[in-house]
Amino acid sequence: MEKQVILNEKQFELTLNRLCYQLIENHNQFEDTVLIGLQPRGVNVLNRLKIRLEQILGKPVVCGALDITFYRDDFRRRERPIIPSATNIDFIVENKRVVLIDDVLYTGRTIRSGIDAMMAYGRPASVELLALVDRRFKRQLPIQADYVGKTIDTLATERVNVEWKEVEGEDKVVLFTQERESNG
């Protein structure tokens, strides 16, 4: 596997900062807005955004973590069942402006499940999507992000990892590419 850093620590911070200001542009004081991070990795993005947003706005922002395991469309099509993470949402989304947050947007299937799962908490006024990384090719459903940290073009054989200071020790986005076999 070849490794290529797409966002380094500095760019990573600038990107998150920009996303915060883009959210504020559209949501002003966040009166009716709630942020929902998708478990497990979207919650990392959410936690960072929440800290920065609250610094800028000087007030708390309503946030929740949503697990989508039981809403996935690949149940029984996988070798092993996926073990769920915790859902932690102590509010109702009825008439709220919801921003769903995930780290990587790729096929769009996770987001589809996320929208379904979120609807169990009421009927929101609107739903937007924020993705730190958008792998824009190979989408399998008609889903696009409203806020994108970085758009990249990738092949299906490649893999994108978002790494976090809290988890992996450093903030960065890495692209793994399979080494090509030489044809001689």
Partner: protein, 309 residues
């Protein structure tokens, strides 16, 4: 992550400790879901489940049905009293007829020990045993242990006494297996006539004095006296049983610690447990019922993930 090591849920005896922990971990998520405004997830929307009850049940049948519906499965119900079993059809024929309607999973209660195992060797569907005679009642044991874990933080190292009719109780046997696999110590307590002869071979303590048993334990699981399974007299009278083995406020308050009181239901108020104890803060009887739905959702979900099409 792990998968269950079994293809059917026949008895706790067949499960590993990992299986039980996996079911508990999954049940934690379902418990959160059944406390949401919309208590339903679409996971099993292409699965059909038949509930076959050849023996009466209220709680278990409702609990299974609710668990299945909260997972979005299609459910058909069948009870022996209103069926062709009365006309002389065999178990295999009854079940095969139901399976030819494309059923993926069968939840069965049957008066004969081993009925669920027998069925699992003969038909293609996944089987969940909802009680087979005096043999096992795995989901009850799982929800009991889950409720202890919820109240006391862990099951390992805890002392649990099972009081009452051990001889006729599938709940007792499944509980003994389950608690021991999770590292708890188990004692059984009751009149000599209601304690099976070789029960010590399972590694449980035996005590005939309720007071001594309660002094020893952290949790007391009070079983119902199953008059319907007793074809001979095992004790002189219900009143005498109640005086010797009934749990009441006086004896609970005379203990130097607060123990947790459980009962698998249905309660015979005033026989194995008095009303004030059953409704007290120490009793987790209604938590057991709530957890029953979450645990049955978890077991159903994990088994359903093994269905092949």
């Amino acid at each position: 992550m792990d998968n269950l090591s079994v293809e059917h849920l026949i008895g706790i005896k067949d499960l590993t400790e990992n299986d039980i922990q996996l079911i508990f971990k999954t049940a934690d998520s379902f418990k959160e879901i059944i406390n949401r405004p919309i208590k339903k997830v679409p996971s099993l929307r292409d699965i059909t489940i038949a509930n076959l009850f050849f023996e009466n049940s209220t709680r278990t049948r409702l609990s299974f049905e609710l668990a299945q519906k909260r997972l979005s499965a299609d459910v058909i119900n069948f009870s022996a009293s209103s069926s062709s079993v009365k006309k002389g059809e065999t178990l295999i024929d009854t079940v095969n007829n139901i399976l030819s309607m494309k059923v993926d999973m069968v939840v069965m209660r049957h008066p004969n020990p081993g009925a669920a195992h027998f069925l699992s060797t003969k038909v293609k569907a996944k089987i969940i045993n909802a009680g087979d005679g005096t043999h096992e009642h795995p989901t009850q044991a799982l929800l009991d242990a889950y409720s202890i874990r919820e109240r006391l933080g862990d099951v390992a190292g805890k002392k649990v006494v099972i009081v009452g009719d051990i001889l006729h109780s599938r709940v007792a046997l499944s509980n003994i297996y389950c608690l021991q696999k999770l590292g708890a110590e188990v004692m059984v307590c009751g009149p000599t006539t209601l304690i099976p002869k070789y029960i010590q071979d399972l590694g449980v303590k035996v005590e005939h004095n309720l007071r001594k048993a309660l002094d020893w334990c952290d949790v007391a699981n009070m079983l119902r006296i199953q008059l319907e399974r007793q074809d001979i007299k095992y004790f002189p009278s219900l009143r005498e049983y109640s005086m010797q083995y009934g749990l009441n406020k006086e004896i609970l308050e005379s203990l130097d610690k607060e123990i947790v009181v459980m009962h698998p239901g249905p309660i015979n108020r005033g026989v194995e447990i008095t009303s004030d104890v059953a409704d007290s803060k120490q009793s987790i009887i209604l938590d057991q019922v709530e957890n029953g739905v979450a645990v049955r959702m978890a077991a159903t979900y994990l088994l359903a993930s093994k269905i092949e099409r």
